[in-house]
Symmetry: C2
Subunit: 199 residues, 2 copies
């Protein structure tokens, strides 16, 4: 049985819960008490030296980092369309995984972190990077239904949570109609699950 | 012929130049005048909407983002060992690509950006993330010769430049002997090329 070390309000954990639901992979969830500092304890640092959720344990193989976990699950348990074999398709997926790890994370996710969890980030920088993320995504999604290929991939799953949660960080999505339409398409995927803050 | 839109002092561009040299792939380099604002011009934004180097043009296919380019080149032109097919190996590579896009980039590369290019980042945050990067890498490399598998992968290539350039950002490598030994191993790879600031 696959185990997910999880936190309900983490967008990075939600990426994994959402993808596991979409590919219908069973798992058990262990909730980590983030606000009580559990990720800084030695027992957790043995799982993930970065002290972050999500982490998965798949029959003894420990994998940390949401991007790495998505690639692992896509290669091991999903239809190839989620992370295709072809070099160019993989590059296209990686481009938008990079956006998820940069503009989306350091902009949108951090802006939300300031408001929800009193994180000590620079609001101006988060806002500027967040708007850059949304412009990039809106431009791409006004030409394409999905970010990387003509089907949903792990790039869509990696970008979606903190984009859809942007209003919690004070960043409105109304100026980005192509992003809003893409959010609707993701919510219509068979097996879709939600998280707190999204509805 | 593969074209690399390049900038000599960019560690992200150097990742691509180094990997192309290691896999003996011919290319031509076009130097972008970063300091004159060329990446913000419309003609460049058509290549990369993020306005960043590196970008490659492979017979008309345009790929931006250093991580995406490394995956593309590894899948298309390199021995499989650089980015293996196996789900678990790919996950291990992705873990350290994630570190290269987070702690290494927002810590070590930004600390260097402050000193070399007067970039407006928070020195304390860059320093803290940079030291976190080096501790993570040193712990891993004191147990393993290479970051992700038992051979060099694109994860090593992605982490190497801004780690080796850390002293330019005022972060010394002396306290990290396993990192220093890994730098020596990378420099000994057949085909290795250097960049300004490394010697």
């Amino acid at each position: 049985m696959l185990t997910l070390y999880d936190f309900p309000l983490s967008g990075n954990c939600y990426k994994i819960r959402l993808f596991l639901a979409l590919i219908e992979k069973d798992y058990q969830s262990i909730e980590i008490k983030l606000q009580e500092g559990e990720t800084t304890q030695l027992s957790f640092l043995k799982l993930n030296p970065r002290g972050q959720v999500p982490v998965i344990d798949d029959e003894g193989e420990i994998i940390w980092d949401s991007m790495a976990i998505l690639v692992y699950l896509a290669r091991g348990y999903a239809d190839r369309t989620w992370f295709p074999d072809d070099a160019l398709d993989q590059a296209r997926v990686m481009q938008w995984l990079a956006v998820s790890e940069n503009e989306v994370l350091y902009g949108l996710a951090r802006a939300r972190g300031i408001r929800l969890f009193n994180r000590p980030f620079d609001p101006d920088e988060c806002n500027a990077m967040g708007l850059a993320a949304l412009k990039l995504l809106d431009d791409q999604l006004s030409q394409h239904e999905w970010l990387a290929t003509d089907q949903p991939t792990i790039a869509d799953i990696a970008c979606y949570p903190y984009v859809a949660l942007a209003p919690e960080g004070g960043i409105e999505l109304t100026p980005y109609p192509a992003v809003l339409a893409w959010i609707k398409r993701i919510r219509a995927l068979p097996g879709y699950v939600t998280m707190p803050g999204l509805d």
